[in-house]
Symmetry: C2
Subunit: 340 residues, 2 copies
Amino acid sequence: MAGGPTVALDGFGAERGFEALAGGARMAAADGIRLRVFGPADRLGLARVDGIEVVPTAEWIGNDEDAVPAVRGKKQASVVRAARAVAEGEAEAMVSPGSTGATMAAATFGLRRLKGVRRPALAVQLPVPGRRVLFLDVGANVEVRAQHLVQFGFLGAAFSEAVLGVERPRVGLLSVGEEAGKGREGVGAAHALLGAAAGIDFIGNVEGGDLPAGAADVVVTDGFTGNVALKLMEGTAKAVTGAIRDAARSNPLAGLGGLLMRPALGGLRRELHPDTTGGAILLGLRGIAVVGHGSAGAEGIANAVRLAARCVEVDAVGRTAALLERGGATRGAPAAEPGA
Amino acid sequence: MAGGPTVALDGFGAERGFEALAGGARMAAADGIRLRVFGPADRLGLARVDGIEVVPTAEWIGNDEDAVPAVRGKKQASVVRAARAVAEGEAEAMVSPGSTGATMAAATFGLRRLKGVRRPALAVQLPVPGRRVLFLDVGANVEVRAQHLVQFGFLGAAFSEAVLGVERPRVGLLSVGEEAGKGREGVGAAHALLGAAAGIDFIGNVEGGDLPAGAADVVVTDGFTGNVALKLMEGTAKAVTGAIRDAARSNPLAGLGGLLMRPALGGLRRELHPDTTGGAILLGLRGIAVVGHGSAGAEGIANAVRLAARCVEVDAVGRTAALLERGGATRGAPAAEPGA
């Protein structure tokens, strides 16, 4: 299966260590995805794996470092080299299991923004049983203006259609009430702009409870609210399933009941597991960048690489640019791009 | 049990109708709580119930009305009269199952703010299994400044200690990272102020995932993020338990398993049910106001009244005022109260 996309993989930063990372790389390579892995060749043990090239790299950026100065200063850090590989055409997408901040900074500096995009946004597929809900921004932009929220709608709709295969994705704006005027100031203005925008199917405000219900295919919000909401959702699902597990252990009959239910619950467990969706995607750049879930095991790393490869295969970047153009979302682009 | 606190109950607005409301009133009265119910005497059927006085009221404010002008204009509306009953000493607390906005407006205008409090906040006890986590603001203030977040910390800590019985409640500030500097601008400033404040046990920033984990006893945030988070948490718990129920129905063996587990799950179901905690409490006023959960049944209405009565019994207002004073949180009060 040579001829598949090439993904640049940051070999550092996987919380579960080099073994999990190498295991994920092997699984992705077995699918026919070619990988360039930037990391310590001796620790990774990937020297003779078909489809994988290890680029020996010693420097890396940790979670505790201030991302922007670290990316500017450490030109040889693994995540910076992965971004450069995409920029220079040696790979078509990048994946990092490490620091979200460093990955965002390396990708934004290295890959540049799509025409007219002011702020790239970090998007995740929510663990909603039976649905494919895309949620953004989950942390790239702590504070946003109305125009940014509008662009998030376009970025999310393009990704939902191209990569998740949702036809005419319904776009919702996260707020505290269904009425147009509810919410913060920027939210009200974004509502008006999205309602008037061509090219996307805006369904209006959605509330917190609408996310797990799958009321919209794409939900946009600022990176503060989005980050809190994502972590809260993951934590709540974990707490509820944990409490149910505890209940099953509380007496022998309940334990037997839990055992009998287990096969039927397998699919749900998979759907709720953070490894399943492959991680967060930075949208709005001229290249693909995927941030793996910090605690991802080999399966999670493999899924992050598969997600990146899939984005390349369906030309997610090109289709996003086309939708932005069609919707006029590139008007008012920075002065550096007067043709927008 | 005469001599218990008197609660003014708004007789309109219960989504499940007058029967649910009257049923809840009866249950609370059976506990020795005295009630003044403002509603349609003929519909409520509470005429001869010991401890309940129905004050015939025909006017009310619906969910679809603009709360502030409605409360200003309709002096005889049930929720306005309930607030007036507290202000005039005919009752010691008010409860409404109706519009959150109208209840907040009626209480804020009618009961006045505690010395030094700039913005009352709406607090709820989160459905966290085995914990008593108080979360505010869940919708009273869509945008806040750092000083408001600090006051929410004091209001929440006082309530947690006085009403929920948590000793030295740990107060956390909701943000997108553990580091002090992370989050929006106001959040960083609030972090510094809370860290320096006397009288409360501030544990620093908490993230979305820390809420269901019970990492803090009191978590403060702005009303936009809080409202989204609360509804998201309720919705996620519902979606997960629903998916598990579906799994139990997917085949006969799993169904038997679910049946065997059911008794062990009863406690969890109760803990997760919105009726259990009694509703949201408006903190920072010189009186108690409880907003029942919109979809509350009789048990939920009764629990809202019980919560209000408990606040009176433990002198939640007096203890809150004392903590605010001790912590110096009343400094910088509005010019109208120069002694603060």
